[in-house]
């Protein structure tokens, strides 16, 4: 499994570097825009106050006056989920489903490892890639906060990285189920992206329609609150456990599906 992991991680290095750099630069850019936003904080807040509470919460626009609130609104509420989806889902689609389609799986699985070790090694390589992207993204926030005189504690940054990482794990788990059961990249990409879009739409509905609050248990965005980690260094255990639990369950399900799959 270790050899499969190392080889897969090596194959993902371009993607890791590319998305790592993108996340880093985007984080720096958000920090660099914060002083200008701070100067106009009152105007922005007035503008945001014109929208409903649900809308502000949805786009993280309820706290533009602090750097953590600004980063949450400009980065974590929408751009980061999209970034991590674009990074993870195609990688997951390629590790099994893409190879089944081209029959490259015949050679990949001719090595003497069982399917469980094979899939686990490959999933862990994507997890490692995502960890690097989350870390580089959040470290850019640390650097940006130093450069623009609003220093964020490193412990808060690392906890935020952990929250972002946990969010990405759920996407990996869902994509793992898709890649272990489907036979080409396209449907896996559709499942991964569809999961994010549906989750986000549910989150929108939950925030805009108080009567639909029962739906909040159906979206992972309910358990995704990086602003609290960034602002106060606090983690909400139940949220993290929910995200990690989703990952463990979905990754286990994907391994069971793959080992029992009759046709590759």
């Amino acid at each position: 499994m270790i050899r499969v992991f190392k080889r897969t991680f090596r194959d993902l290095r371009r993607r890791t570097i590319g998305f790592g750099i993108f996340g880093f630069l985007y984080g720096l850019m958000v920090c660099s825009l914060y002083p200008a936003a701070q100067k106009n904080a009152e105007t922005i807040q007035e503008l945001m106050d014109g929208y409903g509470e649900g809308f502000k919460k949805l786009f993280g626009g309820d706290d533009f006056s602090t750097l953590p609130g600004y980063i949450n609104g400009e980065f974590f509420s929408l751009v980061f989920p999209i970034l991590i989806t674009v990074c993870i889902v195609p990688a997951m689609a390629g590790i099994v489903a893409g190879e089944v389609r081209t029959r490259a799986i015949d050679i990949s699985l001719s090595i003497p490892v069982n399917r469980k070790q094979f899939l686990l090694g490959r999933i862990l390589a994507v997890v490692a890639m995502m960890g690097v992207v989350c870390l580089s993204t959040t470290l850019s926030l640390e650097l940006g906060s130093i450069l623009f005189d609003e220093r964020l504690p490193l412990s808060h940054i690392l906890l935020t990285a952990f929250v972002l990482f946990s969010f990405g794990l759920v996407l990996i788990g869902i994509s793992a189920i898709a890649t272990s059961t489907l036979s080409s990249r396209g449907p896996v990409n559709a499942v991964g992206a569809g999961f994010l879009v549906v989750s986000y739409l549910l989150w929108v509905v939950v925030n805009l329609k108080p009567e639909a609050s029962g739906l909040k248990c159906l979206t992972i965005f309910t358990a995704f609150s990086p602003r609290d980690a960034l602002k106060s260094g606090e983690l909400v255990p139940i949220e993290l456990l929910t995200l990690l639990g989703c990952f463990v369950l979905s990754a286990t399900a994907s391994i069971i599906c793959f080992t029992r799959r009759k046709t590759l």
Binding site: R3, R7, D11, E99, T102, R103, A104, I105, D106, I107, L109, S110, I111, P112, V113, N114, R115, K262, T263, L264
Partner: protein, 297 residues
């Protein structure tokens, strides 16, 4: 010992029955030629041996182990060359061979010798290599770890004649080393040259498993005779194993099944100008089985 033991195996894909109640045994140390046209069930059989497909019924065993439930251990005993080769385009040949070699014990000298034999530049990216050179990489990966059983699906497709010759020499070398080879191919001349036994598969069924010599004996050979005067063919057509296929004034073509003793006796008193009775080659044997089945169906 039995290297490959396929017993009553069936496999369907939707409504298509790719393999139907297949029974096949390949002994240890044997070179087995597995013949059949596209869609006959060859690759499905091979993929079941590798644990990539689970049989709907029956069992596939390699060196005593079940190919589905114990595929990990089975694959450790197999050198595999797929028919449809898709190598990771960004890896170099060295990367690929090193990665595949890392899972099994191997002799670096053997790897070096194989690379030299096939005259391969392993420093180039696999995506930049021609189909033939990619085939060489896959052949080396299959042979490098001295597996007791080699499963080769269309091994020479894409190789030039020189490399094909090299490959046949390698097969001969492996035979002498006592390894078992399961060789699926369209190239009947090559199979004929190396195989101890041949299996012919059609529509997922094995229609014949014999040695090449035995297949030759069983199948119809063509006897072509030019007579110096108009012949009386009656003594020939009376023979049970002789069939008149074509006739002109001084020429006749017969199909002969089995030993030609009776034919020789019948021809003894005739005035023969020319005579041809070539041995049945594997291609005609193959066509024989397909024609027979086509007539039956």
């Amino acid at each position: 010992m039995v290297a490959i033991d396929i017993s009553q195996v069936s496999r369907t894909f939707g409504t298509i029955r790719a393999v139907d109640q297949l029974d096949l045994r390949v002994s240890d140390g044997q070179i087995f030629g597995f013949l059949g046209p596209n869609g006959a069930g060859k690759t499905t059989t091979i993929r079941m041996l590798l644990g990539l497909l689970q049989p709907d019924s029956g069992s596939c065993r390699v060196l005593g182990r079940d190919c589905w439930s114990d595929s990990h251990a089975v694959k450790a005993q197999i050198g595999f060359l797929p028919g449809d080769i898709h190598l990771p385009p960004r890896w170099t040949g060295d990367d690929f061979l090193k990665y595949h070699g890392s899972f099994r014990k191997q002799d670096p000298q053997r790897l070096k010798a194989l690379i030299q034999r096939f005259d391969l530049d392993t420093s180039r990216r696999l995506g930049d290599l021609s189909k033939g050179n990619q085939q060489k990489v896959a052949i080396i990966a299959a042979f490098m770890h001295e597996a007791p059983l080699l499963i080769l699906d269309e091994p020479t497709s894409g190789l030039d004649p020189l490399m094909r010759q090299n490959f046949m020499e390698l097969i001969e070398h492996e035979r002498q080393a006592g390894r078992t080879l399961f060789l699926s191919s369209h190239n009947l001349q090559e199979v004929e040259r190396v195989a101890d036994q041949v299996g012919i598969i059609r529509d997922g069924n094995l229609v014949a498993v014999e040695t090449v010599t035995e297949l030759r004996r069983l199948c119809e050979r063509t006897l072509s005779i030019a007579f110096s005067e108009e012949p009386d063919l009656e003594p020939l057509t009376r023979l049970e194993n002789v069939f008149l296929r074509d006739q002109t004034e001084h020429r006749a073509i017969f199909g002969v099944k089995g030993p030609p003793t009776g034919v020789m006796a019948a021809l003894a008193g005739m005035s023969i100008q020319d005579f041809s009775f070539p041995p049945a080659d594997l291609e005609s044997i193959f066509m024989h089985y397909y024609d027979t089945r086509a007539e039956t169906s």
